[in-house]
Each structure stands twice: as C-alpha cells, then as structure tokens.
Symmetry: C2
Subunit: 340 residues, 2 copies
C-alpha cells in the first residue's frame, strides 16, 4: 500500500531507524488507517527470539510449603508461553539466610537475563539488584511483598493491610464485646516484614474504627519457632490472661499456634491465620483453625510471568499494582482452592 517493501515496513514497526522521515510517516499513516496489527504468531515463528526471565524466589523449606505455590504458578505460565520463546531461569534462595539471597543476586547479575521476577526478602540486596536492572534497562516485577519503587514494572500480590482488616471483621463475628484478642507475630527473621506488619495494622484499625466492638488487643512476638519455645512463650500469656477469645497469627505459621491450642485444649478460641499450606489445613480440618486468609500464591507466580510476557511479547501496557483477591478459606471451601 505504501509502495515500499516489507523490510521497510518492518523497520518502522520496530522503529529501528534507517528509514527516511517521509516513508516512515507514510507507513505509520497507513498502519493506523488500515488498523493493521502484526500477527504475533508469525512474528514468533520468524524471529525465534528468546526471552530469559530470572525468577528470584525462596526455596521451599520445612517450616512452610508456601513457596512451592508461586513456583508452580511460574511453571504453569512458562508452559503456556514457551511457544513464544519465554524461558524461565530460577534462582532459589534460603529465606532465612541473607547470604544465600545475595549469592543468587550475584548470579542473576552475572547471567544478564532479559527481565527479573523478584520476591524481595532483604532490603539492601534487593536495592542492589534493581539498581543493576535500571542500569541495564531491563524491567523487573515484584511478587508477594511490595517494594516502594517507582521504576518497577509491576507488583503482583495482596493488599496486606486490607487482609488484616478483613481478618478482624471475621473475628468480630465470633467474639463478644469486651473480649480479649491476641495478635501473634511469629518469625525467626524480621526482614521482609513490612507486609507482615501491615497485616497487624489492618487488624488493629478495624477494631479501632468500629466502635461497636470494644475489644482489648494484645501483641505478642515469638522469635524462636521450635515447639518448646512456643509453648513457654504462650503458656505465660494464656495463664496470665485467661480470657483470650481470639488469636490472629500474621503469617503461615499459624499451625504452630494451633498445635499449642489443641494440646492445651484451649478451645473455644477463634483462630485466624494465613495461607493454605498442608500444615495449616490439618488444623482447619480439626476445626481448630477457623479461617485462613489466602493470597493466591499460584496466581502470584503465574501473574508475575504473564506480566512480563504481556510486556515483551504482546506489547501490552501492564498495571503497576496488581492486587489479587483476599480469599477467605474455611473447612468447607478449602478443597477448591488447593490447586489454585
């Protein structure tokens, strides 16, 4: 239509220069007017281009099987997009070990991927990684825990404050006026903790804002997560304050608290925590954990890769904050969430 060869058209589509302004404009005009859109199937077949996405996630660990889920989501996305030349390179670290995190970042920087998907556990190291990305002008996406940074391509995860707020609402149905509640923060390491603290903040705000619920809230931090330390730590609280009607655990370790409650026959106490792990589900089955808040872990990984795929292959504009739904899990519906 423009009286030029496909080679020239290709040059203007991918604006890689070497075209006179006059032909370029002519071609652009025609593309617009005729609503031409490139056939990405043909493009993929012809270009044989490979996109290498680095995936920086914690390794699954004995304390929690949570991180196997985002990885499953990544693998699912990789399968779907493999036809388009998407390749994932996994860099798994030990979430309790800063050095391991740092090492994987070194490897990523060395291997020069085309983009990176990050679970940002340790602050300084994460900053180093994204500075390297900026320098190399490659996009990066955060998953699970957000990172204040205006240059990221996107974040895929949950609104953590709101999830705590929701937990409080659920709690409010089963505790009466004047009850005493306990918020437990249990973790060996306090890095990567902003979203955990947000959960607590959200929970507290609910009861502050809903004046018809006069509730006394205690905060408790447990650093040592072995069984004995937990017992000691909780025995003290529960003996001193014998009126605790509800417990909110701000992460996936809620099963450890459930075990304590079961062994000490402290029911009825409404227990709410996070994440659909096998360990937690045991206690959901036994009616000891009442609610789990789930953050769509599989979709987080899936969405992370798809975001990059949309950006590179489909040239779609992607949203900077992708908040996944806050799912409420009970004994009655958990089965349907397991594969998700």
């Amino acid at each position: 239509m423009a009286g030029v060869s496909v080679g020239t058209v290709d040059r203007v589509i991918h604006n890689r220069g070497e075209v006179s302004d006059i032909t370029r404009n002519k071609v652009i005009r025609i593309i617009k007017d005729s609503h031409y859109v490139p056939d990405i199937v043909a493009r993929t077949l012809a270009s044989k281009k490979i996109y290498r996405f680095a995936v920086l996630f914690p390794r699954e660990n004995p304390d929690s099987t949570f991180w196997s889920k985002p990885l499953a989501g990544v693998n699912k996305a990789l399968k779907e997009t493999g036809h388009y030349g998407i390749v994932g390179e996994k860099y798994l670290f030990d979430q309790f070990n800063r050095t391991s995190f740092k090492k994987q970042i070194d490897r990523i920087i060395h291997n020069e991927p085309d983009a990176v998907l990050i679970a940002p556990f340790y602050y300084e190291e994460t900053v180093r990684l994204i500075e390297n990305c900026s320098q190399r002008k490659i996009p990066y996406v955060f998953i699970n825990s957000n990172f204040q940074d205006s240059s990221k391509l996107s974040f895929v995860g949950q609104d953590s404050k709101q999830s705590g707020y929701l937990a409080a609402r659920l709690m409010s149905y089963s505790v009466e006026q004047g009850s005493r509640l306990l918020i437990i923060n249990i973790s060996k390491v306090l890095d990567n903790h902003k979203h955990i603290l947000n959960r607590q903040t959200g929970f507290e705000s609910f009861f502050r804002e809903n004046t018809n619920h006069k509730i006394d809230i205690l905060n408790h931090y447990i650093k040592d997560t072995d069984k004995n330390s937990i017992s000691n730590s909780l025995n003290e609280i529960f003996s001193k304050k014998n009126e605790i009607k509800g417990v909110f655990v701000t992460n996936s370790k809620v099963y450890k608290i459930a075990r304590f409650i079961e062994e000490n026959r402290l029911k009825p106490v409404t227990l709410i925590g996070y994440d659909l792990t096998e360990e937690n589900l045991q206690y959901v089955e036994k009616n000891i954990i009442d609610f789990l808040i789930s953050q769509r872990p599989v979709e987080q990984g899936y969405g992370g890769i798809m975001t990059l795929f949309n950006h590179f292959v489909l040239n779609k504009r992607v949203k900077k904050e992708q908040h996944l739904p806050i799912d409420i899990i009970t004994k009655e519906n958990y089965k349907f969430y397991i594969k998700h």
Copy 2:
C-alpha cells in the same frame, strides 16, 4: 530421520490415512523416541484453520447483571486465543423466556459451529441441543449449572451443594443456639433450578450434621419478585416469627431482601446470599448483607472457552468436572473480586 517426506509425517501425525502401516509405524517410533512435539505456532500459521465456538448464554437483564460476567470471561478468552483461529459466536437468550432459549438453539443447530458452550436453562431444549451435538460429533461444555450427561466434554462451575453448606457455616458464627433461620428461594421461573435447590440442601445439611447448632429453619418461596409482593410475603413471615436471626437467600436476588430488611429496620439479622452484582454490593457496603458467596463468574466463561481451546488447539485432555472455588465476599474484600 525416517527417510520420508514431511508430507508423509504430517499424514501420520494427523492420522488421515493414506500411509502404509510400515511407514506409519516407523514414523511413530521415531516421534516417540525423539520426543518430537509439533510446534503449534507454526501449525497455526500454516493451517489457517478457524474454530467456531457457539456460546449460549442468558442476556444480561434488569433484575441482575450477573450474566455480563461470564460473557466478559468469554471475551477475554477469545482475545487471548484469537491468534490461534478461535472465533466465538454468541447466542443470547432471555432467561425467563423458554421460547427465546429454543430459538437460539435453532440458530445454533442451523449454523453448525465446531463446539458449543452452554448455560443450560431449560431442560428439554438443552437435551435437544446436546443430542444434535452428539449426532454431529462436536463437543459441548456446560457452564454455571451442571447437567447430568456423560457425553459432555466438561462442566465449569461451582459445587452448589457445598456452597450452601459453607453459607451455613458462616451463618453459624453469628447465630446462637435455638435461633430461627430463614431460607428464601426467590425466582420467577423454576426451571434451571437444580443448582439452586442444591444450595438449600447444603445449607440444611450443615445444621443437621453439626448437632451443637440447634437451629430452627424455615423455607420460603417467593415467586413474584416485584417490591410489593416481596413486602407482603415477608411481612407475614417476620410478624409471625419475630425471632429470625439469619436469612439465607439462595440466589443473586438477595438485594431485594436486603432492601426489605433495611426499610423495616430488621437488623441485626445476618444476611447471606449469592453473587457480586452491583445491586448486592450496595447492601454489602451498608452492612446489611453480611456475606456473598461468589462463583467466579468471569472465570466460568473464561474457563469454558479455554477448555475448548485446550481440547482443539493444544490437544490437551480436559477434566470433566471443573469446580471453581467458592469465594466468600465481605465488605472488606469485595473490591478485589470485581474484575475477576
């Protein structure tokens, strides 16, 4: 590798005959041994094959915006799979009008699509459609409401009985022993009602099976859904039985009950219903509806098309029953579900 031309290889891959047993076997052997998998991108480009999927859904109607969601899911899937030659043809009917359903089926049968995605509203007509499909040997998928039929390719939707069971569990947190509960079934038409009845059955079984909840349950059917009829009908019940502590509405018309409760200041009564429609959300915002059960309407439509896509294009085996999660919606988390 087999010493034959690509044409011959193609013939055995698509087993369209005209190949001697000896060469066929040789080729099959090599395909297996070398783990050859066809490049579907190249295949799509070369074949230019079009798959026409008929979509038989209710039209969106003033009483409920629910059905716009599955359609949105269909459109999303169509966008993603358009590159592979998937085309959707929509046949929308009036859900309260059997004739309209029948008419669209006639059109589908006449147009001979390659597959059909069905929201099975009226029984006999649906049977006629699937008999036609069987005859023409084309696959069909049910959405939203299941259909007892062993020849279907798949069903995508919710386990309706379990959703009622879950609703009862939620109800149990806020009603005391000996309370009186009301189940409301509100609908102009009673076809397509099996999954609605299942919800009721599920709700009732929970309280039957959990003996620590001694609860009196009333059932109430409302046929005329205009405001006055509802008022009359409910006034009677609420005046006779002044102790109703919770109401479970088995479909998306819960907002009509909410309106009645609001206007008659009957709170506190725990109100649970179905579906994240705009009409319902108003009353969630006002704390009149406590919980909505959502059935992932967008994913139903999306999943329906993707099931057919997987079947035709990816040659994947698909599951016969695809139960989507039963989402629990409250004022605190509904925003994150709206686009889903």
